[in-house]
């Protein structure tokens, strides 16, 4: 269904790019935590800032969050539309 290169993580997105969350890779604590912020499979995310080093900023369901690169790399996404 998906080609290998359509699966990326949030870290791979540039500022202004939007994507759909596909999968969360991490322990239960991590999953429960980001899920409560609205970052669940099927949710649309927009990367607001990704300076190449240090945390990134995303927008999901109208809220802004800063995510460390380690955390962002645990969120697999797929290009929207």
């Amino acid at each position: 269904m998906e080609t290998a290169n359509s699966l990326k993580t949030l870290v791979d997105l540039k500022a202004g790019e939007k994507a759909i969350v596909k999968e969360l890779r991490g322990g239960r604590g991590f999953v429960a935590r980001v899920a409560s912020l609205g970052l669940i499979p099927g949710a649309e995310v927009e990367v607001i800032r990704n300076p190449g080093h240090g945390p990134i900023i995303i927008r999901v369901k109208g809220s802004y969050f800063a995510l460390g690169r380690g955390e962002a790399a645990k969120v697999l996404v797929e290009d929207s539309a």
Partner: protein, 681 residues
């Protein structure tokens, strides 16, 4: 995640207010995610009747207050702001435990109308708990500005619970909220909450769990909630159930749960689907509107370079404001109010024929001590107000974001920046403020490094003494000393991170709230609470120490030269001399342990001069080289006793606390000795 358990927690008895005749008492809990304006609502409801303490056995702040409305006296408890009610943080556990165990008459859930989907998530969890819920739909003005149109009637019908639109910052909807609370408590308002549905795939398991545990779940836990939390894999509930059921039953339950480890995502997904349906029915969302205020401001505020520039400017402005507004008031207080009070007391006592020691105790001990406490107020007020303002408008999270890169380098969290920054006002709130860091390791390190931040008391000593030793160059030397402290902080942090924690990375997840106009009532109350807690805690310590130091400097001979204090200085002098300090300066350093600003007062007492005269006396008596060593040591010395006591409280360990004391003691003397021998004068 949060396993830190203090051994001793301050217990402040709550002020209980007796209801007036015929008045009915209601217990109300205020719940909501962070950044939904919950504290504004709380402030509007309770005003100055607030009580700030700790949750029993926890180092999480508990705010409660009361509100009289009509014939009702409402006791309102502000639950910690959390995104959900999992077992993953102390705050979440406190919030859910309170509702489950205390069963408030009504839970008021505050949501942000501008981020409705996300903030309803907590409501989905609250509806599983036994207390009835009123929804406070806050920040309607922000939502409207952004182009959201919310049909409150539809939302209310779909949720089956009362919904009250509000703009708490403008006191709109607060009355209606209270009416809804009373209506719900009295059963006048209809209440038929619709719960989010669980996915088909998990329905049979949930049903089975309920059957298995039926009759085995003790009061006050609701069966449905326990079943869902088990399925979510909630660590705390899992442990509880293990203790409630026998081995065979637990075997059956865990067999059921096996193979459904991902249920948390489905449950969360189910909740969001439920929310999506509500929102689709009740909210008209904006089409691609104009670029929002938050987006425009963040183009600069979170920029990797300009963000730092903005932050530096903001910091500069804070300190400029603190010292241009605070300092003149401070000197006025000292020179006019305290000085005339001392004169008045002195002449009255002489007139009454009081003995010399009583005069000394009153004027130098008590009035002097009160003066020191008072002199902090202007600076702390300005500082707390500006800090509160920045927090309220949403800027502080941006500063944490911009600083995260640097904080991580030292094994700290972006959020560590905030308490450390608070440390410039006073180390005590900084240590307490480190609670916002959920990650234990980063919190420990933040607390450990906090004393490197020169607090306003040490700044005051710096401001007083640098002109004495360095005249025109005082400003540069002061800056140099502050930068030296920060540089040492960074190096020690880096070293501790690589030695103790092997340089491991920390998780970082933080909301950047939408910018909004500040609410001055909220800020004002915050300033008031911080000041009054300073007065109660630090103020009393400072006053007591002022009296003790005076007593030590007066007895047994009635003069400083032969006093206990001078003798102590003589004993320690050989160590001090390595850094060029005489016994009096050693004593001044030591009394700084009790409160940093005491250093100047002690010097004044020991050199037998008032503050005015002290400057010229010191200038003659102390060479700049020794003065500089003294300043370096003062800046690095053991934190004051108030800070040490909160460090002890937050770390929950005497071993760590003594490690902190020993570390700063050794570092301070080593640095002083080094500086004395290297300083080129």
């Amino acid at each position: 995640m949060n396993s830190h358990q203090p051994l001793r927690v301050e217990e402040v008895p709550e002020i209980t207010v007796k209801p007036r005749a015929g008045e009915k008492v209601l217990r109300v809990a205020l719940a909501g995610q962070p950044n939904v304006g919950k504290s504004t609502v709380f402030n509007m409801l309770t005003g100055l009747s607030q009580h700030v303490g700790n949750w029993p056995g926890k180092t999480v702040e508990k705010k409660s207050g009361r509100c009289r409305y009509g014939n009702y006296l409402m006791h309102i408890v502000d639950l910690p702001g959390t995104y959900s009610l999992t077992a993953n943080s102390i705050e979440e556990r406190i919030a859910r435990d309170y509702i489950v165990k205390e069963r408030p008459d009504v839970v008021v859930a505050i949501v942000n109308a501008a981020t409705l989907e996300r903030s309803l998530y907590l409501v989905a969890e609250l509806l599983l708990l036994p207390s009835p819920v009123v929804l406070g739909l806050n920040m309607m003005d922000v939502a409207e500005q952004q182009g959201y149109r919310i049909d409150v009637q539809i939302l209310q019908a779909k949720l089956g619970i009362p919904v009250v639109p509000m703009v708490a910052s403008k006191n709109q909807g607060v009355k209606e909220l209270l009416e809804a609370v009373i209506g719900l408590a009295e059963g006048i308002v209809p209440y038929n909450p619709r719960q989010p549905e669980i996915k088909e795939a998990h329905k049979p398991i949930l049903e089975k769990l309920r059957e298995l545990m039926d009759g085995l779940i003790p009061e006050p836990y609701p069966l449905d909630w326990v079943a869902i939390k088990l399925l979510e894999g909630d660590s705390e509930v899992t442990e509880l159930v293990k203790g409630w059921v026998d081995k065979d039953k637990w075997g059956e339950i865990s067999a059921l749960l096996k193979g459904h480890e991902d249920a948390i995502l489905d449950i969360a997904g189910g909740r969001y689907e439920w929310i999506r349906k509500l929102v689709r029915a009740a909210v008209e969302e904006p089409r691609m509107g104009p670029v929002s205020l938050t987006e425009r401001l963040d183009r600069v505020a979170t920029h990797p370079f300009w963000g730092l520039v903005v932050m530096a400017l903001v910091l500069g402005a804070i300190f400029w404001l603190t010292y241009t507004i605070g300092s003149p008031i401070q000197s006025w207080l000292e020179e006019s109010v305290i000085a005339s009070l001392a004169n008045l007391a002195s002449s009255w006592l002489s007139f009454l024929g009081a003995p010399a020691w009583l005069n000394g105790l009153m004027v130098d001990g008590i009035i002097g001590g009160i003066g020191t406490v008072l002199s902090f107020f202007p600076i702390l007020t300005v500082f707390f107000a500006v800090f509160g303002l920045l927090e309220d408008v949403g800027y502080l999270a941006r500063a944490a974001y911009v600083m995260d890169r640097f904080m991580h380098w030292m094994g700290l969290h972006g959020k560590s920046f905030l308490p450390l920054f608070l440390g410039f006002g006073c180390n005590v709130p900084a240590v307490l403020g480190s609670r916002i860091i959920e990650e234990k390791r980063a919190r420990l390190l933040t607390i450990f490094l906090t004393p490197f931040i020169p607090c306003s008391a040490r700044m005051a000593v710096l401001v007083f003494l640098t002109p004495v030793f360095f005249g025109e160059r005082a400003f540069l030397v002061s800056w140099g000393l502050i930068l030296l402290n920060l540089a040492i902080l960074a190096l020690v942090g880096k070293a501790m991170n690589s030695l103790l924690f092997k340089g491991e990375r920390l998780p970082f997840i933080m909301e950047l709230p939408l910018y909004h106009y500040p609410n001055f009532r909220t800020i004002g109350l915050e300033v008031w609470h911080r000041l009054s807690s300073f007065l109660r805690k630090a103020g009393t310590v400072i006053l007591a120490v002022s009296v003790v130091v005076w007593a030590f400097s007066y007895w047994p001979t009635g003069s400083i030269e032969g006093s206990f204090l001078a003798k102590l200085g003589v004993i320690l002098e050989p160590l001090g001399r390595l850094a060029g300090l005489d016994s009096r300066m050693v004593v001044a350093l030591l009394t700084g342990f009790v409160a940093k600003e005491n250093a100047v007062a002690t010097l004044g007492v020991l050199y037998g001069a008032g503050e005015e005269a002290l400057a010229s006396v010191l200038e003659k008596a102390v060479p700049p080289r020794a003065g500089f060593a003294f300043l370096v040591m003062e800046m690095l010395f053991i934190p004051c006793v108030a800070t040490v006591s909160v460090i002890r409280q937050e770390l929950g360990s005497w071993r760590w606390t003594f490690l902190v004391i020993g570390f700063y003691l050794v570092l301070s003397f080593a640095a002083g000795i080094l500086v004395y021998h290297v300083f080129p004068f």
